[in-house]
């Protein structure tokens, strides 16, 4: 006989140490239990459904997870790998076997000719070991070195909102500004086009108001005003590269 009681409402702010609930809940991110009681361990918004409870983090660093798309900066070149900054306390390693679709002969090739220090690359996290070694790959189609354009950083906690439900938010930004936009799970965003400033402003707006109601509508109005164009309903487009969005 489960005795479940919520002490905070859905979408309510929780501070580390605050009591969230009691009873047989399934615990997700940002929670811990002690003596049958469930507490918050990060600053976040309560997200509960049926017997699940977790917190949506409002702050914090990016911790790499397998299958994440990340925008990285090449920091160092070793004998058979590159060390990549992924905007995290943990560095990414890109080994020669995973760097390109073709075979790389480390005996004869200069790795810096493939990816050099300071290059910005689109990569995917393959795995994260127990000792926090982050393995990256760039072998898939859709993973490549980024050239030109602008790069900005937002809090990684707001990335799902920038992507939107099934990618609708970022699609709207792309259509309205006529820019290529790539959103890394690690909070880095690459924008390329005639007028990236409007896209950047819109992204900053989303970052600031990520958890408010009616945000999509406000962003739509903002974009229409700035571009003097009407925005049609956005069809759900399948991206070649997997992105993680969030339910509104």
């Amino acid at each position: 006989m489960t005795n479940m009681k919520l002490h905070k409402q859905n979408r309510e702010l929780a501070i580390p140490g605050e009591l969230l609930a009691e009873g047989d809940f399934l615990l997700g991110e940002g929670t811990f239990s002690e003596g049958g009681k469930i507490f918050a361990n990060i600053l976040g918004l309560v997200d509960t459904k049926e017997q699940f409870i977790k917190l949506i983090p409002l702050s914090g660093k990016y911790v790499p997870a397998p299958r994440d798309l990340v925008i990285g900066i090449v920091e160092d070149i070793a004998f058979s790998s590159w060390s990549i900054d992924v905007n995290s306390p943990y560095k990414g390693i890109l080994g020669v076997a995973n760097a390109t679709e073709r075979f790389i002969d480390i005996q004869s090739e200069d790795l810096s000719k493939i990816y050099d220090m300071g290059d910005v690359v689109l990569a995917k996290v393959i795995n994260v070991s127990q000792s926090m070694q982050v393995g990256l790959t760039m072998r898939d189609r859709g993973l490549y070195k980024l050239r030109g354009g602008r790069m900005i950083s937002i809090s990684p906690t707001r990335v799902p909102r920038v992507i939107g439900k099934k990618g609708t938010m970022v699609q709207m930004l792309k259509n309205a500004t006529n820019c290529k936009i790539v959103v890394g799970q690690n909070g880095r965003i690459w924008i390329d086009g005639e007028n990236p400033n409007i896209a950047i402003e819109a992204i900053k707006l989303i970052e600031a108001e990520a958890h408010t109601q009616g945000l999509t509508e406000r962003v739509k109005i903002f974009l229409e005003k700035k571009t003097n164009k009407k925005i049609a309903e956005v069809p759900l487009i399948e991206d070649t590269v997997q992105q993680r969005g969030e339910m509104e």
Binding site: L13, P16, G17, I42, L45, S59, K61, S131, R218
Partner: protein, 269 residues
């Protein structure tokens, strides 16, 4: 703000006792008619102000005022640690640096760490370590920097209170907040949250920090002399003070983040 500074209050009190034709080295009266020099009762804390997220560059930050003691705290982390060999394979290293700005005190303090700052840095770190989920961030460092910009006693408790808010602001996982407050003995009377003149001229100073969820004491120091009965009273006062500080910490965080689910009009031209 033309209210008397603590130094002026003491000087006039000394002048008063001189005028009363008492002996030249009569003790300074810190409690007059049951009230302290700044008008507080023994069980009253100073006006406290707490603001979360005050710095642009830091991952988390907070500003705290306990009366005229002003502290700024910033958190960077978890982040890569240099030198690497100081990292721990299974958990984060927590590093705390408490520092006083030269013009935070009447007699200028030379810039840089001294023995006192190093000790205070250690006790503050050990006050936070019990609540931070260090195991969530192996091989990293969480840096906590505290600058005291103005000192009127209780600088370590103000700094620690700010550090706890800064850690929450940075999104660091903790099992609890840590709230801090002092108590002491002044003219034989046990008082909460002692200020500069009370610290300099009183008989005891007891800084305390509390993790409120479990009522656990994570910082405890003392200098002076207290009987067992006085100590019990002082510790009770300090713990109550910590609980009041905790409420203000939560309020400050809610104020900064409370807007997050309500549209507040920004973004509209």
């Amino acid at each position: 703000m033309k209210k008397k500074s603590k130094e002026e209050i003491i000087e006039s009190s000394i002048a008063d006792s001189k005028n009363k034709d008492t002996q030249p080295d009569a003790p300074l009266k810190l409690i007059v008619n049951g009230k302290r020099l700044d008008g507080r009762r023994p069980d009253e804390i100073r006006p406290i102000k707490i603001e979360a997220g005050v710095l642009e560059k830091a991952d988390g930050s907070a500003y705290v005022e306990f009366g005229d003691t002003h502290a700024l705290a910033a958190v960077y982390g978890p982040r890569e640690m240099h030198p690497r060999h100081l990292t721990e394979p299974q958990q984060a290293v927590l590093r705390v640096k408490y520092d006083m700005i030269p013009f935070s005190v009447s007699d200028r303090k030379r810039p840089g760490p001294d023995r006192r700052s190093i000790e205070i840095s250690k006790v503050i770190r050990e006050a936070l370590e019990p609540v931070v989920f260090l195991k969530n961030y192996p091989k990293t460092v969480i840096d906590v920097f505290i600058e005291i910009v103005q000192a009127d006693a209780g600088t370590r408790v103000a700094g620690l209170t700010a550090a706890s808010v800064a850690l929450a602001d940075a999104g660091i996982a903790m099992s609890d907040m840590v709230a801090s407050c002092t108590a002491g003995k002044v003219d034989g009377v046990v008082c909460v949250d002692i200020d500069g003149p009370e610290d300099n001229n009183g008989e005891a100073d007891l800084p305390v920090a509390l993790a409120p969820r479990t009522n656990s004491i994570t910082l405890l120091q003392m200098d002076g002399q207290l009987t067992r009965k006085e100590y019990d009273q002082a510790l009770t006062y300090a713990i109550d003070g910590c609980k009041k500080v905790y409420e203000l910490q939560k309020e400050a965080i809610r104020k900064k983040y409370g807007q997050i689910t309500q549209f507040n009009g920004r973004g509209e031209e």
